[in-house]
Subunit: 225 residues, 2 copies
């Protein structure tokens, strides 16, 4: 079907784009610049992949989130905590209703360009500490988008039954070079290797038995970097 | 409860603000500048009312909607049609998933400032030609926002059982001066009096037996303007 893909420039959404190019007619790619500490690191990768396939790509400025929303993921917030996602401290990195906002904008964009689906790279390891990653949110949001558009736009979650490790393995099959993706929430020059999303990134490669092409600030990718 | 109010500067949302000030602790007011032909007419009224009560007011710029979304309501679209809302031609004025986008942003904003409710001035006369005004959309969106926020933010629709005429009558009781509101989709110097929302505005005052303080381009308010 004609689909719009949400593309942050991270591992999961880049893989979702490569998969969608095989399964759908990708009529648009959307990236959101919402004032996070790592937007300036991940958006260039989103652009790189969209341009590689000659896709219509819109980077949507949502600077008001950086201005008015409370989250340590944002430039306006405090320090990004180290540690595993499951920890209570990670709640500070929640950007309130971010998935709802991104999916809503994608729904309107999809309806405007004749798409019937919106692809989001949600996966089985998405964290319950983030209310807008939970299944009940996703089901209700999917219903709202279906009911609220003439085309009954569908939210597509091709990776919802997969772990991040399985996504990485699938991405390698699809030709994704993960050196061309960004995860780290801190947004420094290199991946820090210690924040929640870096921990998860490293685990994904390790679990999948893949070489990790990432250059971490403290060393420890499993390539020669 | 602590509530955020969506305020366009039109009749319904201004009345909803005045009502919310009696029933809730209004901790924020949100207005959206999304590239419509009439934003520049209605937003000053939103500001006027928010300032009158010393409320925290954010005007959220959503210029990407004007750039990427397809609708004759937008500056980027074609002419706003004349006639009654029920007519097929009015579909051209639908801004895809606008209510979903506005409610999503309001949900994240509410969660960020400790509010438990978001007030939207949806009413019984909202039109089925707009998919994101339908009851099934509103119920699903309400569930998505409840599930997707820590505070289980509620979408409050105090006017959902009322007609626009009943809202106008209530507003007069609450002290709203409807000369300080804007409806016309065309966004000219005066209300045109003939587009869907002007037709509805005139009807509301007439049905409620109220003096219409609006100066229409072709004449015909029921005051001395």
């Amino acid at each position: 079907m004609k689909a719009v893909v949400l593309l942050s420039g991270g591992m999961d959404s880049v893989t979702a784009l490569y998969a969608a190019l095989r399964e759908h007619e990708v009529v648009g790619v959307l990236t959101f610049d919402y004032g996070s500490k790592h937007n300036h690191r991940e958006i260039p990768y989103a652009k790189l992949h969209a341009e590689r396939f000659g896709l219509r790509h819109a980077v949507i400025p949502l600077g008001f989130m950086g201005e008015y929303f409370a989250s340590d993921l944002l430039v306006s917030g405090g320090e990004v905590p180290d540690g595993h996602y499951e920890e209570e401290s990670m709640k500070r990195t929640v950007v309130p209703f971010r998935n709802g906002i991104m999916l809503s904008i994608a729904a309107g964009y999809a309806e405007s360009c004749g798409a019937e689906g919106v692809v989001i790279a949600a996966h089985s390891g998405d964290h319950a500490i983030y209310p807008d990653c939970r299944e009940r949110f996703m089901e209700a949001m999917g219903a709202a988008i279906r009911e609220g558009t003439y085309a009954a736009v569908e939210v597509l979650r091709p990776f919802i039954g997969m772990t991040k490790g399985e996504i990485a393995a699938r991405g390698v099959e699809l030709g994704v070079d993960y050196a061309e993706t960004w995860s780290c929430y801190k947004g420094g020059e290199l991946h820090c290797g210690t924040c929640g999303t870096c921990v998860e990134r490293r685990e994904a490669f390790a679990v999948a038995g893949l070489s990790d092409p990432t250059c971490y600030a403290g060393g420890g990718g499993n390539s020669e970097w």
